[in-house]
Amino acid sequence: MMSEGSSFMKGMILGGIFCLVISFFETFNSGTHSEGHKHLHHHLKPLSKDELQKLSESQMSDLPLQVRVYCLIMVTPKLLVHWATANDTWSKHCDKSVFYTSESSKALEAVDLQEQDEWARLRKAIKHAYENAGDLRWFFVARPTTFAIIENLKYLVLDKDPSQPFYIGHTEKSGELDYVEYDSGIVLSYESMRRLIEMFKDEDRCPERGHALWKTPEEKQLATCLQYSGVFAENGEDAQGKGLFNKKSVSSLISDSMGQNPADVVEACCPDMAITFAGMSPSQMQVLMYGVYRLRPYGHDFHDSLTFLPPKNSDND
């Protein structure tokens, strides 16, 4: 009887030691694993209201001056109406907005890159923007089919140092590559631009014209070049984890929300301080301009910690 019991006990003890060893290894692995994840799946959020209030007065007055945005809007004559709409609406809220086109149009002003290949065009635009940045340290790249609320972009990067590498937007994964989707707009800090332009010289890892039979979309080529320079994509979201960059239109998002959250359509749908929407018609973009900058209920005050003034020579905001 004793010998039976002791065999069983020996078994228990061995099993117990086995489990302890396994769980020890698990925590050790998951520790390093999660760090690796944190590095690749960054979620970038704006400062909270409390954090903002803690900043000193001198810091507060400096901030709007430091966060200034250079908008690169990549157009083609085919997108003329959207080009005109972007020119007449949201781009007026950038500190500097430059339209880069594949070929010139008599109707609208742009930097004519004389380049049909989209990736090559993007590279040229980036180089031009960096050289003409002046004292602007944040760069926003979008097509005219995107609508951006620049004040909310500034709010997102308010406390981020542009001499650090930032590459922000709506992130997606393609195999091992995390990239920012083009349709919902791409935010780059000055340092990211600098590293990118350095990497442009590397014809092997960051070629100007691909040699493959198929074309990799520019958004992925951009992500690859940035990744090689140690810059990783980060998803821009609000405090609740809602994405601030959208490649869908407002009505599309609302419609989805009506299906998924019928009891709470607007609250569950889209963030108050959303940054981009895409896929909207020019007239919908005009309505959005009115909806963002003008339409409001009398008496609702927000006591925001910063002030952004309306742009000069504009009548629709």
């Binding site: 003890i13 302890l20 609320i149 909310n152 108050d272 309505v287 209920p297 003034l309």
Partner: protein, 320 residues
Amino acid sequence: MSSFKQHILFLCGVAVSILLSIMYSWVLRTLTPSFALNGNKPAVKHTAVSRRTALEFSQKVRVLCWVMTQPKHLKSRTQHIRATWGKRCNIVLYMSSEASDFPTVGLNVSEGRSQLYWKTIRAFQHIHTHHLDHADWFLKADDDTFVVLENLRYGLSKHNTEEPLYFGRRYTPFIAQGYMSGGAGYVLSKEALRRFVKGFADGLCTHNTETEDVGLGKCMETMKVQMGDSRDVLGRQTFHPYPPDYYLPRQTRRPRPWYLLYEHYQPVEGPGCCSDLAISFHYIDAVQMHTLEYYTYHLRPYGYKHRFQPDEHLNNRTNI
């Protein structure tokens, strides 16, 4: 004891031990409050908003809204009003041919375009009987109208409800003094409501048309109710009979399109069409209803100082 039995017992021991460890860690995980799902996010709440002014107004300028609807539309249209702007009225009544748990008020009429003026008459009679003292102003809207109550109150706040007044989107034809578009919504003062009901009681107003906005406009003229000017301090319209995309996009100078033919005031196309403090838009479907709700009450540019500051334009306009 046989060595075989010993081995079996040994293995059992190992198995039991492993099983116990698994059970222990599972119990631990379910009992521990997890941060994994959403991280340390603060409770979801709308940005801190000073609603003091809006609240003061809602007590000083009480608005009763009645929505012209029908049983067929409750699910496709009216529920979206109930979910959005309906709750901002001091009192909201959904008027239909049938009473229901929606809740709707059942009027003694049948459905159909030909019955619209009857519905309007019955609705105002019901309100006069049951709610005259519960509100200061009485708004009629369709079940595809989007209304911003705060801006309505702001406009009405300067006016005296004991005077016979009527505000909305002014149209010219059919009646000498004109009338207010039904779809864009219109508002009667308390005195105007009294006179409308009295007009029918005394036979001075009759059901002389099926077009409810024209009919009501005629009765207003007969009962000497004054037309108000609902444009803002810059002359921009607040009530709109069509959705915003009809008005806002810039146009080259052109003759009036069909939807601007009835306008009493010179229409403006492009950004000057519409006040920042708009009161209504019409022909708004369910998706647009929530979209406008999002634009008006949620989506905003952080820190933006609006170009139009209504209270800075203190002048002596005698209208909204």
